[in-house]
Amino acid sequence: MVHRTERLTGRRVLIVTLLLAALLALCIGGGIAFGAGTVNFSSLLPGGSLTEVEHAILLQVRLPRVLAAGLLGGALAVAGVVFQALLRNPLADPYVLGVAGGASIGGVVALLLGLGSVGVMGGAAVPAFAFAGALAALLLIESIATVGGQLTVYSILLTGAIFNSFAAALIYFIQSVASLQQLHEIVFYLMGRVPALGYQELAVLALAIVIVDLAVYTMCRDYNALSLGEEGAMLLGVDVGRTKRFTFVLGSLLTGLCVAVAGLIGFVGLVVPHMLRLVIGPDHRLLLPAAFLGGASFLVLADLAARLLLVPNELPVGVVTALIGGPFFLYLLRTRGRNYAF
């Protein structure tokens, strides 16, 4: 039983990280082993060979999807940790600060302009527009929420929430003037799904996520200090203003990336950080890497369920994240809640 007052040692960081890495490896293995199509894995042994169909299913459909799910789940969970630390609010999730709204508008506008079809900018138009929307929202919200040279928690939260409502209204408007075909695309884009990405796109996404995650990790001690409140953190020598601004920008970049390629996959960024706090405690030096590994495992598993439950149909992954994640989180809260520290 881990208790929150237990000191964080290098040994513990290593053990927990290795355990979570093993869990992720297990989930990825499961994600590759199972799917709607059948692959005869014995043909992977020496002497055997995959059929063309098996080859395509395994390497062109299933593996890229599992990898995308891992990257997105990890990024969303880290973004959740970061926003919860920044806002010191357990209800914060990656989508709370308006960046998601900006990204959605960008993506939906691209679909409305008919750029969603294959061939236009190599199919990258929608993510590109969405990411541009996320950046625009980030700049806008940051400039509005900065009051007297300071970024305050209340102003970010309110500006973000109001921007999200505005974005939702704008998207409803766009939906009401879109054609049936476009409506289909827009609804599926917003519902959130693990996208079918090529290996090059995956590499770019992985690089971007890893860079932002490492930048976030350099601030893990500041987040620990912030949990004492801004004044407490200042007394510990943290440049609170700078930390908040950087955190807002980095968390928003992560969120913007995720929404741009996958739409709004709910629940991962909200609940995975809480699950992990319940199990390993609130220290960000451990929580941040754990969130990446845990979030990745969670979304790989949820996507596996989404692919398997209704074969040959598929479920939206957001349905699974909330249906499995919700009860599991409540179970954790009931059994381990007394250890909870935010």
Binding site: G35, A36, G37, T38, E52, V53, A56, I57, Q60, V61, R62, G114, G116, S117, V118, G119, S179, Q181, H184, E185, F188, R193, P195, A196, R307, L310, V311, P312, N313, E314
Partner: protein, 311 residues
């Protein structure tokens, strides 16, 4: 301020004139044998049936659909399936609205019925539904004979298609409605039925709804021998017989045997009196060696050319 008031007065007067004009609209004739005089149609398929029955000139309002039949394209819009515009329908003096079943529109339909506008919910989106609708419309307009003749002619033409593929090995067909994620024709859709009539077997037939998402792995594993992709309705998008985005999966029989077709959805997704024509087109796509190659125009958005043509 004065101008504004004047405008209000003018508007009010116009409203009164309009309203009284409407109330003077002749009520359904006592000789109800000839059916309703002023009708609104929400679905193009219904309008086409009315055209064949010779009562298209009774249409006073249309739903949100494409520019055909041309003679009614300029009529006032009266909302969509889920959102009929009750006020406009009343102002137009509509006797009957022909629409489709819609839970979302149920309250509006009740309101219309209270306002003495009859609402007829037709199912023109399924194979059997089309025939039922033809019969019902024939009865409503007292043109039962005409309707029977139309239905009989359609059935003969459909059976003709069926006969030509009798005994021919069936080909596995994937009918794509939307891509990324793939939405395909499932059981209960008119497409599923048309595929069967034209000598194919729908690889999405074990889905659970007429139009549903299908796993890409399942699609690849089931090895479609013909792929009909109507996922893009934009005018400048890919059309014709070519692999397009499906070419990535070069091991699929449909790709290998050059049976991937990119078609404007209007050709196949709106059933109605064109069902036999659709079955023939489906035959050309699934068994070109029997039905011949599709015409170049078969891939493009449908142009309504009935107008003015002899019936």
């Amino acid at each position: 301020m004065k101008g504004l008031r004047a405008k209000k007065v003018v508007f009010g007067v116009a409203w009164l004139v309009l309203a009284s004009a409407c109330s003077k609209t002749p009520p359904p004739p006592p000789d109800a044998d000839d059916g309703p005089r002023r009708v609104a149609v929400m679905a193009p398929a219904t309008a086409e049936i009315l055209d064949v029955l010779g009562v298209l000139d009774r249409v006073v309002g249309i739903g949100q659909f494409g520019p055909w039949p041309a003679s009614i394209a300029e009529l006032p819009e009266v909302g969509g399936y889920d959102s009929p515009n009750v006020e406009r329908l009343v102002i137009l003096g509509t006797d009957v609205v022909f629409t489709v079943k819609s839970e979302a529109a149920a309250p509006a339909h009740r309101r219309l019925n209270k306002l003495r506008v009859r609402v007829v919910e037709l199912d023109t989106s399924t194979y059997e539904g089309v025939f039922n609708s033809i019969k019902l419309l024939g009865d409503i307009f007292n043109r039962g004979k005409m309707a029977e003749k139309l239905a009989a002619r359609m059935r003969v033409e459909l059976q003709d298609v069926e006969r030509r593929v009798y005994g021919v090995p069936r080909r596995r067909v994937l009918f794509v409605i939307g891509r990324d994620p793939e939405f395909v024709a499932g059981p209960g859709s008119h497409l599923d039925r048309l595929i069967e009539i034209a000598g194919g077997v729908n690889i999405g037939q074990d889905l659970t709804a007429p139009y549903q998402q299908m796993s890409k792995e399942s699609i690849l594993e089931r090895q479609p021998e013909a792929i009909i992709d109507t996922s893009d309705n934009r005018a400048n998008s890919l059309r014709g017989r070519q692999p397009g985005a499906w070419g990535v999966w070069d091991f699929l029989p449909a790709v290998k045997n050059n049976r991937v077709y990119w078609i404007d959805p209007s050709q196949l997704v709106i059933p109605g009196i064109r069902l036999p024509h659709m079955a023939q087109l489906m035959g050309k796509l699934i068994h070109p060696e029997i039905f011949g190659e599709p015409d170049p125009s078969d891939y493009l958005a449908l142009e309504y050319d009935r107008d003015g043509a002899p019936n």
